[in-house]
Symmetry: D2
Subunit: 257 residues, 4 copies
Amino acid sequence: MRDVQSEQDKRNIAIDKVGINSLSWPIQVLDRSNGVQETIAKVSLSVFLPRDYRGTHMSRFIEVLSEQEKQVTFHNMENLLRMLQERLDADEAHVDFDFPYFITKKAPVSGALGRMRYDVRFIAERKGCKFDLITELTAPVQTLCPCSKEISVHGAHNQRAHIKISTRMKTFVWIEELAEIADACASAPVYSILKREDEKAVTEKAYANPRFVEDSVRELAIAMERDDRIMWYSLSVTSHESIHNHDAFASIERSKI
Amino acid sequence: MRDVQSEQDKRNIAIDKVGINSLSWPIQVLDRSNGVQETIAKVSLSVFLPRDYRGTHMSRFIEVLSEQEKQVTFHNMENLLRMLQERLDADEAHVDFDFPYFITKKAPVSGALGRMRYDVRFIAERKGCKFDLITELTAPVQTLCPCSKEISVHGAHNQRAHIKISTRMKTFVWIEELAEIADACASAPVYSILKREDEKAVTEKAYANPRFVEDSVRELAIAMERDDRIMWYSLSVTSHESIHNHDAFASIERSKI
Amino acid sequence: MRDVQSEQDKRNIAIDKVGINSLSWPIQVLDRSNGVQETIAKVSLSVFLPRDYRGTHMSRFIEVLSEQEKQVTFHNMENLLRMLQERLDADEAHVDFDFPYFITKKAPVSGALGRMRYDVRFIAERKGCKFDLITELTAPVQTLCPCSKEISVHGAHNQRAHIKISTRMKTFVWIEELAEIADACASAPVYSILKREDEKAVTEKAYANPRFVEDSVRELAIAMERDDRIMWYSLSVTSHESIHNHDAFASIERSKI
Amino acid sequence: MRDVQSEQDKRNIAIDKVGINSLSWPIQVLDRSNGVQETIAKVSLSVFLPRDYRGTHMSRFIEVLSEQEKQVTFHNMENLLRMLQERLDADEAHVDFDFPYFITKKAPVSGALGRMRYDVRFIAERKGCKFDLITELTAPVQTLCPCSKEISVHGAHNQRAHIKISTRMKTFVWIEELAEIADACASAPVYSILKREDEKAVTEKAYANPRFVEDSVRELAIAMERDDRIMWYSLSVTSHESIHNHDAFASIERSKI
């Protein structure tokens, strides 16, 4: 059978990325408490295509993924990229894994345990021998408005918010550590199970700790600057304002090198 | 050219609905303040297909829609269905228009005007000569938790929530009236523009007016029972809990006849 | 602390459903080939609330879910509902689990194995002692248009399509069996890995087997009628038309009793 | 009332972007055939916040948007940014408008007219006096696989695909021109209304014109290089493969200066 993809292309245009995306795939990731955790990723895999090839071989992306051990980690990501480079005969390979990640959290007073969903993303590439990995966490939290608290006789508007922390790490940082940073930089964490005594504690904590999106994103930046394992970060905080039908957001990106 | 769709089908199975959906289409709808409003609907159009026909003629759905006046209203919906019945030679026709709808709201103290998005849906069908229309509004509002207020020294968790009101009407009710009912049954309305004095008023209003999803849905049911123009309703309230990563909801459906 | 939820309500309105939704939760489900499969569900849990109670106790829903064995199956669903009825002191309980489910499929010629994602939903309720369960599969498939094939000199438009099969079962049917029915009623199945010889086979199979959404939904109805384990079904086929920017769909619902 | 936002911040951290997003807002855009077109945008508005301010004034973003003329165009975008800089006392302002845009297309044989939805995005910023604008079009098209055609006795898999063209323009290019480029670089355009004679023409056109995502993205790059009004482009083509449950994609980004 003719191999149309391998034919020469005369258009003289290299392609930055060619591959597959919107692939749903079960993976295992490292879990600080339980060793590993089963989850399901939305996956993108691609390579650089030189100007003289007409196409890439799409089925090989999934073959490489299938042959890999099931675990997708900070540690073996470079190996996956190397295999993609080899099998697709490519100078550059890029992968993106986006998946839910569950952390068991303890309610602040009752100690009730409940699993809570975070979203994590590994965005990695290897150009020649140069490897790059971004680890990203999206965490649900609560923010309470300092202005609303200051000007109102009682109460203050508060809401679910999302903190996104993207990092390039010098040395390994647990997803759980990023989640703890997110919790510490909001007005209060959110939980799966709260008994009445917990609800009281969380309500009062948020009220005692009002934060604009501007405050949260700056607290996150301070935490990133302090952590020597982090060498680059991009941060955003988005509050799903309870008094509006739109969101408030703030973002900061910095390289420490 | 052979008309495959018109051929006889021997499988002896009638099809409840056959047609098109996920069609994006610009329409005009009635607006209490401005006469009409331009918007863009996600549209579904379908007919009943008798057991002896192999297929329907899909292009005719869009032809009928294109030939229609641009307005899609409570008043001309039956006519659209009648045209679908005729052109597709069908006993039954069904349509579904789902679209954003903007209402200009006045901030409670400053009077600042801001447009706010609601979502509206018309779900209609005509079986023989029997016409049925459901009008549905989804409104963003604020809910503040009565339990959190009661047990906490200061503050109370509150959040954006969504109220959905589906109705079968005996006589015409404006979308704006349904939106006012939604606002009145929440802890406080939400707005596009709030100056500081407005933010204070809305914060204090919500704190003075705590409502569980159970409270809101019951207040909605009372409003529906009182309104003689409404003959059937289905209600839901969903709070995007600011202390959790999941939502709380309550729903009620009743026929008044 | 005051228990606001347990207070008496004077509005005299019962609430059909009150509970939580949009909860993300890891579960295990039965897998015909591997015993069990780890997955992540979007969960809704609710109860009926009588007219004289102000509210339900939202945290108990997640407590019941946490205490349950991790498996969510056709077999233990009623037990989960019974526990919800007991713990929330409710006449009726309702649950909805919506999750990705992976089936390893073999490419038709090369035999290459690849996991493919389906979506499955369990919608169950228990009213008093009366238990009801709907099992729903959404399967990606390929449809090829009979009209386009008939009238064109070469080729025929084809596209990814989705088949949804909802059933009430008298006796247990594997998810894998529903997926096989979906594949058999389309123009061709879809796969994760196809080598060149497979791509040829799948292309030719679809061309040899053209099907309108009307054809597919009727083939599905025939399969449902033949299977004595099925007592009620609701079917839909949606083709993401490659020549249009909208979809074509057909649906049938029948009870066999 | 205390103005918490205007207070001094001691954390010494400037914020790249602070503002609002997920705002739904009706706008008018320029339409080559009809002068203007009403549509509804998802809007993001933000500014740079210097290190010494605690927060921005969120309500002013919507005030500026409300006071603007309703039209959002290539021509008045800089003025909107200038107003945001002034009213929020900011060195930099950023806006993002993402909206459906309808183009009336003529079926290739019957000439039947049907409106079809595209998605357009204006991403603009002004840093000091330096203005930058990216115009982005997402167009649905059809792609037919050259490999499948080559190796199969009959037929070839084809599917709906999406072409995304992002550009920085030296001089104005109509959205309609970008849509024509997208259509020309696919296997065939897609339409809202196709009569049987049109369906035959489109089917045969796609079969005569097979294109991998790699082919389409290169054809797009050639068109961009040829057009002197374009000074930078970022292109992607994504095929929703009819034989798979995942997508194939290719992307190229180039600056011509």
